[in-house]
């Protein structure tokens, strides 16, 4: 009876098996990397905006508080974008002729809203509420990053479910004093673990309940 397999069959099988394994592991690694890539999370990507608004200049340079423009952040689910009128409170006085601001002036003149591209956004099935996070002392920078260092705004954190859950599982280290939530630079701030514990107690925050589906999904 002739041999069924040639002498090299075993080598070919082993090579094929190894290749399959490499492809399998490789695809896992690729998928994991892809899922965390900025392509999917949009972290650091700058969107084309009608006006190249610089948070670095307005927040970092001029020191304008977040709430001047994002006025409803303390009372509503939405932080809201400023009305054109808010931009023009200053820009009717300064840089009145700047070509960069032409779309803002046109918006006010034509009574047509500016078409911004959203940077920080969540899927429709996530019901995030700004007001409760602010009232508990979650600083703006916690999710939005150092916008005071961003000439053009980009997403600072991957708004994945994992990112939300990391904080909901253990909110203590992320809490800040309520009156300083809009502060950007927290590098010099050393949190007293006791203080965070007291905050959790005072607010009645129960981390085991915070990870329930219904907290964010309806």
């Amino acid at each position: 009876m002739p041999q069924i397999f040639t002498a090299s069959a075993d080598t070919r099988l082993r090579t094929a098996a190894l290749l399959l394994a490499i492809v399998f592991v490789g695809s896992l690694v690729f998928t994991a990397g892809f899922m965390n890539s900025t392509y999917l999370t949009s972290v650091g990507w700058v969107a084309t905006q009608p006006v190249p608004f610089s948070h670095q200049h307005h927040v970092g340079g001029l020191g304008i508080d977040c709430r001047y423009c994002h006025a409803s952040v303390e009372v509503s689910a939405q932080a809201s974008l400023p009305a054109t009128h808010v931009c023009m409170t200053c820009h009717s006085e300064i840089w009145t002729g700047a070509p960069m601001l032409a779309p803002v002036r046109a918006s006010l003149a034509d009574n047509k809203p500016l078409h911004w591209q959203r940077v920080a956004r969540l899927p429709d099935y996530v019901y995030f509420n700004h007001s409760i996070h602010i009232s508990r002392g979650i600083a703006c920078a916690e999710c939005h990053g150092r916008v005071d260092q961003m000439p053009l705004l980009a997403r600072a954190k991957p708004f994945t479910m994992e990112f939300c859950l990391d904080c909901h599982r253990d909110p203590g280290p992320h809490l800040r004093p309520r009156d300083q939530v809009t502060r950007m630079d927290w590098s010099g701030w050393h949190q007293d673990p006791q203080w965070a514990h007291k905050q959790l107690q005072a607010f009645g925050i129960q981390p085991d309940k915070l990870t329930n589906c219904y907290i964010c999904h309806r």
């Binding site: 392509y39 509503s76 689910a77 974008l81 589906c213 999904h217």
Partner: protein, 889 residues
């Protein structure tokens, strides 16, 4: 590359690399992230008091059959998304009905007429204005001769003022009114007995005993919310005599099944016993006599009230007025005011006069303002052929309907949620209707349409404001004009001699037309929420059936779905038979929209019924309604008797301690009148999709809250029960055990929840659910919605797509809203702070929701009562939704 190499290099290696780096960077900058862009459009000038993301509430009203129904409209980002009852309103106190809830869909309906039509072709408003201008010049010369205005019932002071102004300018014009479902006999009876037409306002909260002679005062109609709320406050002892079951009949302790021809005899018997002079002695059957004796005895204990259905003739109403006067009900359980709807100038035959004039060629110009006379009038009138004789006819309405197609011009009008108007609630309280949204179609207010005929150019706002010189702001804030209901009138009897005509013939089969519970006179035919809502008692959606009695079904071997032909004279009506337990043997009932083409009045004897041999598929949401030996709805003899037969907390496991708050619901089955207001409210609040007749017939309806109807006992004379069934939110939920991907989960505050993103559609949870409250998205019901329907969706609730299971969430978006508000304020959630959509909608306050761990909450107090029981207790699922058993009398 080769071509580039062939050319002499114009740059060195370094600049080439720079260019490459730059183009790479540009490519990256032009690249797209995986996420599609989403635009955000902030205001140019932010309106004052608008907080993005927070709803705003406006007090306004929606219209129904000439009356206003007070509502609070919830508007998010400038879009109305939900209507709720106005709890401050003196008439309704926050009660709603299903038509009011469904008005929201009427605003966004993609089938609404969007453009003027001239001879069926799209035209412009300018062309219409030019045509009208030319026409009005002619009418001016004739001083209005030949010009007729046809409207529905009118309670709007502004419209009345406009009509008055028009008549001043054109003294020879005439105004006609058509309202397909009439209540003229009541006004005529007061005119006869009390000397002038008066509106009867029965107050069911002031009566201890109510005897209803085929009067479905808890049933569908403009007064349903008001009367059901009043009835629920006291729940008087109720005697009902009727030929077919009604919402009122199901609440009766003593229900007598009689043909409508006997109603008059019963009234005479009660009149005789009450001592009304001149009442002829009546011969009664034994069971009728017992019912009358019991009713008279109960009426004799004081605070009695007798009512009779609006469809009966004037003389019977007059007799009942005399009985009520004898019972001392005047001024207490029966109050009178001046008529709330404007009286049609030609009396109750206003439309008949118009049609005669049209046929005689005396009408040259006809303006039909928001009425549907072609379809919703008796066929014998033959409005359509009369309309052909009119030289210039204009129809202004929401839809390009049959009347619109029969007129020369059709112009689209504004929905009341986008326009200014006014009117009166069924108790007479006036209200100003303010828009919740700027019109998004090219439409005009009916007031503006009428104003253009006068050559005016005022806006609807200015026209309405001119009627309300004082108190404008206050009225808009409150949603009604305070103390504007017409004063109560204390009438004096002028005529005590009532001679009743002979009872009508009841030869053979008697066909009766009843107002359709979800379509009314057909005007809601476009509303898919209402089409998909099962008509109470028959549980049929999408179309109507011919209701036959069980006795007739036995005699003719009819079963549900058999096609039958009703014949009377040379007319015939085809329909599917539906066996209605508790219907009088020789009575056949059809719904109003079908009846217009078949009957000339509400009742016709001597009708023949035959089977065609075909069968029709009926889209019924509940094919089996006989309760059999089950006890889904329990009945106790007295309020003190315990309904629960065994304690429902039997378990091998130690009792679980629930943190506060932990949510639960209690539904009082004695109060439920099966009106479906809660079900439609739930559809609006929770973005529940509509699936259509074909899928309902397959049992694939999507209601999160359904109203089951059960009959108990012999089909010829059963007891009828309604049972609203939302998700039970079982503490030991079988569905949660069945899910392979943990999509059915339990929250720490006692909610049983569905995680749509986890659901892979195995439907195991639904198979495990003993209550069948889980609904599966068999198809993509929402993805292809038109833009206007997307705009209507509640943004606080996920819109589900194909392949996922969904169910009642106890309005978790409202719970979350209350929880966040309470946490920010640093206080616990107050009892009554979370009001579910169904609870708010309920006209009889049958639904109570709250924290079951707090013994003082309203829901805990109800659940602690003896009538409390759980549905399908044997399953030991420990439902959080429990019921209060019915009390027999």
């Amino acid at each position: 590359m080769e071509r580039e190499q062939a050319e002499p290099p114009s740059f060195n290696r370094r600049s080439l690399l720079q260019a490459m780096a730059a183009s790479l960077a540009l490519a990256a900058a032009n690249g797209r992230r995986a996420e599609a862009d989403e635009r955000a459009l902030p205001y140019v000038n932010a309106p004052e008091y608008v907080v993005p993301g927070k709803p705003k509430w406006y007090a306004t009203s929606v219209r129904f059959a000439g009356y206003l129904q007070p509502v609070l409209g919830k508007s998010i980002a400038g879009r109305p998304v939900k209507l709720e009852g106005n709890d401050q309103h003196p008439a309704t106190g926050g009660a709603t009905d299903l038509f009011m809830q469904a008005a929201l869909l009427g605003l966004y309906d993609p089938e609404r007429s969007q453009v003027p039509l001239h001879l069926g072709q799209p035209a412009t408003w300018e062309a219409f204005d030019t045509d009208v201008f030319r026409r009005t010049a002619e009418i001016d010369r004739a001083q209005g001769g030949g010009f007729r205005l046809l409207t529905g019932a009118v309670s709007s002071p502004t419209l009345l003022r406009q009509i008055g102004d028009l008549r001043k300018r054109w003294p020879k014009m005439r105004w006609h009114v058509t309202e397909p479902i009439k209540e003229d006999a009541r006004l005529a009876a007061t005119n006869r007995v009390l000397g002038r037409p008066l509106q009867m306002l029965p107050d069911f909260s002031a009566a201890a005993t109510v005897v209803s002679l085929d009067d479905d005062f808890l049933g569908p109609g403009p007064r349903q919310a008001m009367q059901a709320r009043a009835w629920s406050k006291r729940q008087p002892r109720l005697f009902v005599a009727e030929p077919t079951p009604s919402a009122t009949g199901t609440r009766a302790g003593d229900r007598l099944i009689v043909p409508s021809a006997r109603v008059q005899i019963l009234a005479q018997a009660i009149a005789g016993a009450a001592g009304v002079g001149g009442a002829a002695p009546a011969e009664l059957a034994a069971h009728e006599k017992k019912w009358v004796d019991d009713a008279v005895a109960a009426l004799g204990k004081g605070d009695g009230l007798v009512t009779v259905g609006a469809q009966y003739d004037e003389a019977l109403h007059a007799l009942v007025l005399l009985i009520n006067e004898r019972l001392g009900a005047f001024g207490k359980a029966l109050r009178f005011t001046d008529p709330i709807l404007a009286a049609p100038p030609d009396g109750k035959d206003s439309l008949g006069v118009l049609v005669d004039d049209m046929k005689a060629g005396r009408v040259t110009t006809l303006l039909i303002l928001e009425a549907e006379p072609v379809q919703a009038t008796p066929a014998a009138l033959d409005f359509r052929s009369a309309l052909e004789k009119v030289a210039f006819s204009v129809h202004a309405g929401l839809y390009a309907d049959a009347t619109a197609n029969a007129c020369h011009w059709h112009v689209p009008v504004q929905h009341e949620l986008e326009s200014w108007t006014d009117g009166r609630a069924p108790d007479g309280t006036a209200a100003i209707v303010q828009p919740l949204i700027r019109p998004f179609l090219n439409v005009r207010s009916p007031h503006v349409v009428l104003d253009r005929w006068r050559g005016g150019s005022a806006s609807d706002h200015d026209l309405v404001q001119a009627s309300w010189q004082t108190g404008w702001q206050e009225a808009l804030l409150a949603g009604f004009v305070a103390d504007s209901a017409p004063a109560a009138v204390t009438p004096t009897l002028i005529d005590r001699t009532i001679s009743l005509p002979d009872p009508p013939s009841s030869d053979g089969l008697v066909v009766e037309a009843r107002p359709d519970a979800t379509q009314w006179d057909g005007r809601y035919g476009h509303n898919s929420w209402l089409q998909e809502t099962p008509k109470p008692l028959i549980q049929v959606t999408w179309g109507n059936v011919v209701r036959v009695s069980p006795a007739l079904a036995r005699e003719r071997a009819l079963s549900n779905g058999d096609e039958v032909r009703l014949r009377f004279g040379n007319r015939e009506l085809l329909g599917a038979a539906w066996i209605m337990p508790g219907q009088e043997a020789h009575t056949v009932v059809i719904g109003t929209p079908d009846a217009f083409a078949f009957l000339d009045s509400w009742r016709q004897a001597g009708v023949r019924l035959e089977k065609t041999g075909k069968t029709r598929v009926i889209a019924s949401s509940q094919p089996i309604q006989d309760m059999g030996e089950f006890d889904y709805v329990r009945t106790v003899e007295s309020a003190e008797e315990a309904a629960a037969q065994h304690k429902d907390d039997v378990s091998f496991y130690p009792p679980r301690k629930w943190d506060s708050p932990s949510w639960g619901m209690s539904i009082d089955l004695d109060r439920c009148i099966g009106c479906n207001a809660c079900s439609v409210a739930c559809m609006a609040e929770n973005n529940v999709p509509v699936v259509g007749a074909e899928l309902v017939a397959q049992g694939r309806q999507m209601y999160w809250l359904r109203i089951d109807h059960y009959t108990e006992g012999e089909p010829d004379a059963p007891r009828h029960h309604f049972q609203p069934v939302p998700c039970m939110h079982c503490e030991q939920a079988p569905c949660e055990m069945g899910c392979p991907v943990n999509a059915a989960v339990h929250s720490p505050d006692g909610l049983n929840l569905q995680v749509y993103n986890r659901c892979i559609g195995t439907r195991t949870c639904s198979a495990y659910c003993p209550y069948k409250v889980r609904r599966f998205n068999w198809f993509e019901y929402t993805g292809h919605d038109p833009d206007s329907i997307r705009a209507m969706r509640n943004p606080d609730v996920t819109v589900r797509s194909r392949g996922v299971m969904e169910k009642c969430t106890y309005c978790i978006q409202r719970i979350s809203g209350a929880r966040i508000a309470a946490k920010i304020a640093g206080r616990p959630i107050r009892d009554g702070e979370v009001v579910t959509a169904c609870q708010q909608a309920c006209p009889t306050e049958a639904i109570v929701f709250g924290d079951v761990t707090d013994p003082d909450s309203a829901v805990s107090r109800r659940k602690a009562g003896p009538r409390n029981y759980s549905l399908i207790e044997d399953a030991n699922t420990r439902p959080r939704t429990t019921y209060l058993a019915r009390v027999r009398k």
